[in-house]
């Protein structure tokens, strides 16, 4: 395995030094190659994961669109955050030198692939795309849930890189938990990304932090994704909310990190759960998830005070949706059992008293989450609601109104992250163009002769990237707020 890391690290020099146009073209070539191999890859993914063809074709498209988006991001160059401070003899603290700052690639990135998105969070998924766009070579640790798909994907990516004149070793692939841990401890690895369970993510985070030379570890872990429905919303459109909720919980058998795991409903109001009956049993991704889901389902169903609305069996590796209901007091009493993520088709309805304050209760009960949802009445506004919004936006990376968190758009303003335990690092995202920022570090050139400057820092700006300039004399005005 050390040979693979050496090859990836060596390829990094050429990959990181390449002009953005070359890196961008290579990413587009990778996307096109994956699209061209869809009829081979999708059936392979179906057989290894049990996910549906429609879901997997959509996911592959998302993956290739994501690669193309990051090609654009690499070429546009805003991610370099170029800052040029003119030399300033009149600087308020004494003469200021010429300072030119931009972001450079961190170095080889180790990407632990996820099981539940065999394309979009795996070999050629978002972490890989954003790291490559940043200029970092990537070593992927394959998920054991789809090893053959991982091998084929890596082969296609590597061939496409080579065909576009770039080093195939800008992407490497390893298999096995021990190999992943060894790589995480390897001095040549400069950062790591991970999507998976809280337990595995915590263990890897601890290893990364305990290294002689600690490295950034970007883990996306568990998330309960609470959704609050107000009395006004339920009065307006209970059926629509119930249908959307059922689809969001049961799609892909609930094996999505943004699945709504808690639904807060006003006490006493009707809420049709028949839509849950439409979702049939669905194969789970792999034995680890079957075991974990069955255990969590049993814990929830065995909790005193829980009212079972629909009990879906786990039969072999196939599960049907389960829905339970309780009240705030019971949930609070058994929070250690109920507030943990159940990765699979299970959700918990919690009834609250709409005449009492909900925000303090949420502040106490809800941990960090990737998303939080709110369904409110048309034009609804109140201090009660604003307090709930305050707590939910304090706990989550994305706050949705009148929508469901599953289905994450890949766009500039997307945020896929959140406070612990949703992630190991709340300051970043793993989806959307801002994800590139995880794999960069700043370097400033001071009084560098123009001919020796890196291209993005030059006044003639050969790459045409955005440059933010601070003129001489500005410091005299600092603190004179207009």
């Amino acid at each position: 395995m050390s040979d693979i890391i050496a090859a990836v690290a060596a390829a990094g020099a050429e990959w990181s030094a390449a002009e953005p146009q070359r890196r961008g073209r290579a990413l587009v070539a990778v996307a096109d190659a994956l699209t061209g191999a869809a009829d081979e890859l999708v059936p392979l993914a179906m057989s290894e994961t049990g996910l549906s063809e429609a879901r997997l074709r959509g996911e592959l498209k998302r993956t290739t669109v994501q690669l193309k988006l990051f090609a654009d991001v690499a070429v546009a160059g805003a991610f370099l955050d170029v800052r040029l401070d003119a030399a300033d003899p009149d600087f308020v603290l004494g003469p200021r030198p010429d300072l030119r700052r931009y972001l450079v690639p961190l170095g080889p990135v180790l990407n632990f692939a996820a099981s539940n998105f065999p394309f979009a969070f795996s070999v050629a998924g978002g972490d890989t795309a954003s790291a490559l766009a940043a200029g970092c070579p990537v070593l992927v640790k394959a998920h054991p849930g789809h090893p053959r798909l991982s091998d084929r994907t890596a082969s296609i990516v590597r061939a496409a890189l080579a065909e576009s004149g770039m080093p195939a070793d800008a992407l490497g692939l390893i298999h096995g938990q021990d190999e992943g841990v060894s790589a995480l401890r390897d001095e040549r690895i400069a950062a790591a990304s991970f999507t998976g369970s809280l337990r595995a993510g915590r263990a890897l985070f601890d290893i990364a932090a305990a290294r002689p030379r600690p490295i950034p570890f970007y883990g996306e872990l568990g998330s309960i994704n609470p959704v609050v429905v107000t009395a006004a919303a339920l009065a307006e459109r209970a059926d629509r909310i119930a249908t959307g909720f059922a689809a969001s919980v049961t799609g892909s058998a609930g094996q999505l990190c943004t699945k709504p795991g808690l639904l807060f409903l006003p006490a006493g109001a009707g809420f049709p759960t028949t839509a849950f009956g439409d979702a049939g049993p669905h194969r789970l991704l792999h034995p680890g998830i079957v075991e974990g889901y069955a255990r969590r389902r049993d814990e929830v169903l065995g909790t005193k005070g829980i009212h079972v609305l629909r009990e879906g069996a786990v039969d072999g590796d196939v599960a049907a949706p389960t829905l339970v209901e309780t009240d705030l007091a019971t949930f609070d009493e058994h929070r250690d059992t109920l507030a943990d993520e159940a990765f699979g088709p299970l959700s918990i309805i919690v009834r609250y008293d709409p005449a009492a304050a909900l925000a303090p209760v949420l502040a106490d009960l809800v941990e960090g989450s990737l998303t939080a949802g709110l369904h409110i009445g048309t034009g609804e506004d109140s201090p009660w609601l604003r307090e709930v919004i305050g707590v939910l936006s304090d706990r989550a990376g994305r706050l949705l109104f009148d929508g469901w968190p599953t289905g994450v758009a890949v766009t500039p303003a997307m945020q896929h992250g959140g406070p612990w335990p949703a992630t190991t690092n709340p300051t970043t995202t793993s989806v959307g163009t801002a994800a590139i920022g995880r794999f960069l570090r700043p370097v400033t050139f001071q009084d560098c002769p123009p001919t020796l400057l890196p291209p993005p820092l030059r006044d003639d700006n050969p790459w045409g990237v955005p440059q933010t300039r601070s003129a001489a004399g500005e410091s005299a005005r600092w603190g004179r707020l207009s």
Copy 2:
């Protein structure tokens, strides 16, 4: 102490919600109050630290200018990184909702003050200014080297906050190592910053990472700050280089994290070291630094193969500069002793063969550093030089040409950070306007009714902050690189 954390956390709600203009005016008021108290604070700092009046008056000015700069940063709002994606029915992956993303304060920040900058890296220093500007309340753990100055500074800051109509508890102060560790473990603390030694920083980093809920820990640790002088530069201006080097090593008795600790000189060329004789003995900051410096000095002086150019004594808490010289082979042989930072007035000259490649040697010998320096001849350029630049910019946060790293301008393009062991997080800076990014996390509002949006995300943009917009229809063009 728990009461102080509770007060700081409670003040955070008001501080973070305040309009930028209010936060900015409060920061300016703090700066003005500190400036007004200079005649009280500077003598107090002199008595506690042994630093000179001129140095401390300059540092206080830097501190107040920094507060005013961050007031401007808070008001200008670019740090919010507002991204507005229009809802897009034709989005390439299916209809895209309205997505609005910005950065929000992380929460209460624990700031471990440094000893060597009793103003600029202490109670009202850069970490405090950037965290307050971000909207985070700050709990400062005072450095034991200047406890009375810390108390007075905190009192002045708190009074100025209150007088500008903001909560005084947006800044709190604690003393003592145990109290600092307890605060670092406290659930209410959302991030921590630190400037100090590798040993203490590593210990605190480990505590932050081992919390049940880990938090970002931004530690600025040790740094050797290598400087390379080419044969051409030395031929042109040996005297000027020698004078600058001596001033940079001996200023503030070398107790600066950017002190050049290694000077790579071409073998055989003359290099006058008489300027070192001009620097007299200087009191060191506190007993811990005296002990550590004396030990490191003894280790260096006791290393076989070292040629002592100037042996400066350590007498009580007073030290005179020490300069030694060796060759690459000897340095390599004793790298465990010689390559560690010596925090005080000591530097090591390493002679290299100008006819041989230097870059691979540097790549092997030089660890992560806050800065690296290069002195080159006028118009000098060669593959040899470009390789050296490549290695140094790979190892450092700031690469200086024909200058000395001590004296760090507080400006947008400054970078004060670098790969381990210079810092615990290479993706950030602790000086310059970008330092604000350490204390923020992204939140996206999806399909939020306009009246419920936070001000920076509204289309009418009441705070007048920069907003980056992605229009509908753009996704069809992704990957079509021009």
